[in-house]
């Protein structure tokens, strides 16, 4: 039933001399939510950023191993980076709307991918905002600056901005850690909706959140995946002692 959308195999990554990922392998299934958990500095965000090659921006970053999207090696020579990032969208930890209008924020992605017609853009913007459960709150002020929105609204705007380019995979890097509980819940509700269309990979510090939303969970520790499997199994019958210690709050 579960089809692999993205997979990493024997992935190793260095920042300079520091080995941030040590031979990590993980499959991420289509139309499901994969949660990456683990203490700070364990490499889960680094792993996430490898999936859309945002680590390319980091100076001194070196990668070995294999990451595949629909079976295609994303590190192969001549691979279209812009297309990869269009297919694999990303929501950041801190909401980062551009300092422009709500409308222009959403239309930004489609525009850089060549859509010019106003009517088409209008439709995309409305659909994306509805998809991110933000339309009702902002439809009468699309031309106003996105910087005037609340933190939770800004994060949903960023989700809408990603959806507007119709990605296949959505990466989320602790998307609710800067938000209040009500905004967090709205975004979690949204994720249940989003996984019907997309493959979602989410980094979270919040174990309840992983338990609530994820189908599969991978536990990272010191650059390695200690254990990965169905969320229920990870939380109820962890196979590894370290996993059990972490999820029961004994460290981390």
């Amino acid at each position: 039933m579960s089809e692999v959308k993205m997979s990493a195999k024997d992935l190793r990554l260095w920042y300079g001399d520091f080995e941030a990922l040590k031979t990590v392998s993980l499959d991420m299934n289509k139309n499901s939510v994969t949660a990456l958990i683990g203490p700070s500095g364990c490499g889960k965000s680094t792993f996430l950023k490898t999936l859309n090659r945002m680590n390319d921006l980091v100076e001194g970053c070196r990668i070995e191993g294999d990451v595949r999207l629909d079976g295609e090696d994303i590190f192969q020579k001549g691979y279209d980076l812009a297309l990869l990032r269009k297919r694999v969208g990303m929501v950041f930890q801190k909401p980062n709307p551009f300092p422009m209008s709500i409308y222009d924020n959403i239309a930004y992605g489609p525009r850089v991918h060549g859509i010019r017609k106003k009517k088409v853009l209008d439709e995309i913007v409305e659909k994306a905002l509805r998809g991110a459960a933000l339309w009702d709150e902002v439809h009468d002020r699309l031309r106003k600056s996105a910087m005037g929105l609340s933190g939770g609204q800004q994060q949903r705007l960023c989700i809408a901005r990603v959806m507007a380019v119709e990605p296949e995979v959505v990466l989320m890097d602790e998307p609710t850690s800067a938000l209040d509980p009500i905004s967090t819940q709205r975004i979690e509700d949204l994720m249940a909706e989003l996984k019907k269309k997309f493959t979602i990979v989410i980094v979270t510090h919040n174990m309840q959140q992983a338990a609530r939303i994820a189908d599969r969970t991978a536990f990272f520790l010191k650059g390695e995946i200690v254990e990965a499997g169905d969320t229920l199994q990870i939380f109820q019958q962890p196979r590894d002692k370290r996993t059990e210690d972490y999820i029961t709050g004994r460290f981390g």
Binding site: N52, M54, L57, A82, L83, L84, R85, K86, R87, G89, M90, F92, K94, N96, P97, F98, P99, M100, Y108, G109, R111, V112, H113, C158, R161, V162, V165
Partner: protein, 298 residues
């Protein structure tokens, strides 16, 4: 409060209080000196310049097209036009080149290359203006004669030299503005599949807009006030330019060229030229101020 301070004797406490006051006064006096210098210059300029404006008439003075001190004709419109054309022309060219260079340094060039180019551009700011003028006279002017004919000393030569002179201001201020754009904007754009160049021109540069605009306005200020280099390459003819190859005389050049021998109404008319020049500079500074204030609010 910590114990060491509590044990201080009353005499010492008083001493610190006085020291505090003295330091404040020094700050105040230094600031006052700057304000005083400005006021003295303004008062002096107006006292010297106003009689001429009254005698010639402000309107005649700024719209008159003939400058002929021996014939008692004092019209500075050709010089105002020359100043404005030279300033805006150079600000456009220097502003564009400077902005592109700033984007290279801030966004495109690898760090080691930026670290080589940046000090070179800064060095450009340290070259005395008379050297710019000399270079213009020896290189730019002959080049213009060769390419287009004419006298060489011209509005075009002035614009080229001023463009080079405002580059460092434009580059360093724009680079600072572009670097101040949060990294999160760039990441957000790249993560949506935008290319590096799309990110620079559609997100980073618009986000740095007010800082870049401020750099542009300050470059205008630098260009309009430049004198020495301009005298050497402008040609200094006080008639209305009809082509970019005509010799021109910007306001600053007019004052510097004639003040040493002028007397009476002629001298006063030169001070009045200074008053007009000052008015333009005040407008430029107010614009810069408004741009910056808008930045803080936005």
């Amino acid at each position: 409060m910590n114990a060491a301070i509590r044990r201080e004797s009353p005499g010492k406490k008083k001493f610190y209080k006085v020291l505090e006051r003295v330091t404040e006064s020094v700050f105040f006096l230094c600031a006052a000196a700057a304000v005083l210098a400005l006021s003295v210059i303004l008062i002096f300029l107006f006292i010297q310049g106003i009689p001429a404006l009254r005698e010639i008439g402000v309107w005649n003075f700024v719209t008159g097209t003939t400058w002929q001190p021996s014939g008692n004709k004092f019209g500075i419109l050709p010089m105002i036009v020359a100043s404005l054309l030279a300033t805006f022309g150079s600000a456009l060219i220097g502003g564009f080149i400077g902005l592109m260079a700033a984007l290279l340094l801030a966004e495109v060039a690898p760090r080691f290359l930026a670290n080589v180019i940046r000090p070179l551009i800064d060095l450009l700011a340290g070259i005395p203006s008379v050297v710019y003028g000399f270079f213009g006279l020896m290189v730019v002017v002959p080049l213009i004669i060769q390419l287009f004919g004419g006298t060489g000393n011209s509005l075009l030569a002035t614009i080229i030299i001023l463009s080079a002179m405002i580059l460092p201001t434009m580059v360093s201020l724009s680079e600072t503005a572009v670097r101040a754009v949060p990294q999160a904007y760039r990441e957000g754009s790249l993560a949506l599949g935008a290319t590096h160049m799309q990110t620079i021109f559609r997100v980073t540069l618009p986000a740095a807009k007010s800082g870049v605009l401020n750099a542009f306005v300050l470059s205008l200020g630098r260009a309009i006030g430049e004198t020495m280099a301009v005298i050497l390459v402008a040609g200094n003819r006080s008639t209305m330019p009809t082509s970019i190859l005509d010799p021109v005389r910007p306001m600053t050049a007019n004052i510097a060229l004639e003040l040493s021998y002028a007397s009476g109404l002629h001298a006063e008319a030169l001070y009045a030229t200074g008053v007009v020049l000052l008015c333009f500079i005040v407008v430029i500074n107010i614009t810069a101020h408004l741009v910056l204030r808008k930045k803080k609010e936005g």
